[in-house]
Symmetry: C2
Subunit: 248 residues, 2 copies
DNA sequence: AATTTTCATTTGTCTGACATTTATGATTTG
DNA sequence: CAAATCATAAATGTCAGACAAATGAAAATT
């Protein structure tokens, strides 16, 4: 745990990597205390600020937590679903916004993943889950609901669908699809969409979930996918027309 | 961009959050240069080491890159698929190792996601992709291949299957499933498995991909899933027996 | 025995300094 | 005049030492 070539470029990155590797391969286990900053500085033969920069890198990845005081220090942190979930959503959002992803690509990825969950969700659905979905549908029916809140409710609805599979690993893997891609789509299509159509499809999905009817959910999701795709194309076409007008 | 309550707890975390938010909501765009460390220290009214700790947090998330020299500084970094992919794999690996995920749960998540990709992959498969899959199968047939290399090849095979969908967003979302969960399964099942059975199923998948036969891929993947599940249960049973013997 | 005080340890932060890298512009040279 | 060289300034990377704040444990007191 004290490997550091005299390559004097990015010491804090190297130290962070060294500690991270120790966590990943199990040399450091959950809740284990790392040596104090001064001890680490001695071990790696660097100054304390450099060690601190390394520790902050690890803290940014939720790999350690720090505690002040006599028995304080840096401790290996148990990575929780909640943290990983949030991290995944942030990364997915940035990835989409920085990388010219076509609407088609994002739409396809999202619905492919969501449709994969639906059969499990149909099989294992709980009364609680159905109630959540129906409550969100009710919110979506309110005409005075802002576009932003409609989007939030839309996300909550689809998240309930995914969580209905009762598989936390699956929910985590789909976090990006539901919470990053769907707001993106909402942002693009909100001016074109008809809320009634969407609410209608959501209602069909909720009914089918309640009836444990996987095939029917898949049908509704496919319709929702093609409707979304149509909206996206219309929105892009409208935008293209506007720029043409602007030029002319 | 200079909001900081006098809550003197984790200044560097607050500063990092402030800058991160500016990136996410678009106030700072890709390749834009941040103020120098000294300027940031003035703006936030903290010292330079504190600013540096904040910047290291952002660097750990691949949100900025730094450059030394006269025209150097910290620049907003375009998050690339490759970086997000690696990050996702690391997080998934840690999440699995730290959270008592049952074999059933991981197995279900992985195959659910992979089977969702298969139809797209069957439709869009390229000669290149089929060649990659066949090459990995050939490697897997070598009797003297170590378990570790067999696992690597297994991952490469399934990654080719997923990438065959030609949807980079999908590939990214599935990174955790392929590159974190599958090695975990290999590690659990390697003592019990019969390589010939796995190679046989891989061959069926490759053939079906080449023939654009989605239904046949799904069948083979389902068999692979149930075989893997059987192996996992056997391995866990064997382990339970060993501990019972150890006690007796 | 219970409470209070003291103390040592550790993280959080600051100040100031020097080293290193790198683009720019001035200087020197062919 | 053009080209190469050198000095300079700006920025990050690193270091040393210091103090503040939090915190638990041991010591002292009631």
């Amino acid at each position: 745990m004290k490997i550091d070539p005299k390559n004097p470029a990015n010491l804090s990155a190297q130290i962070a990597k060294s500690i991270r590797d120790s966590i990943i391969n199990g040399d450091l286990i959950v809740d284990e205390r790392l040596p104090s900053e001064s001890e680490l500085a001695d071990q790696f033969d660097v100054s304390r600020p450099t060690v601190r920069e390394a520790l902050k890198r690890l803290a940014a990845q939720n790999l350690i937590r720090t505690q002040r005081g006599a028995t304080g220090g840096a401790f290996v942190r148990r990575l929780r679903y909640q943290d990983a979930y949030a991290q995944h959503v942030t990364t997915s959002t940035l990835l989409l916004s920085m990388n010219d992803v076509t609407f088609e690509t994002a739409c396809e990825a999202r619905f492919t993943l969501e449709r994969a969950c639906a059969p499990l969700s149909a099989k294992r659905r709980s009364a609680q889950q159905v109630a959540t979905m129906r409550a969100e549908i009710q919110r979506q029916e309110q005409a005075d609901l802002s576009d932003e809140h409609f989007c939030d409710s839309d996300v909550a609805f689809h998240r309930a669908l995914v969580d209905g599979a009762k598989n936390p690993v699956l929910s985590y893997q789909l976090a990006g699809a539901v919470e990053a891609m769907q707001p993106l789509m909402n942002m693009i299509t909100f001016s074109q969409r008809n809320r009634e159509i969407i609410v209608g499809l959501h209602t069909r999905i909720a009914n089918s979930i309640e009836a444990h009817n996987a095939a029917s959910i898949d049908e509704a999701l496919e319709e929702l996918a093609s409707y979304t795709l149509k909206l996206g194309r219309a929105a892009l076409a409208a935008r293209a027309n506007r720029s043409k007008d602007a030029i002319a």
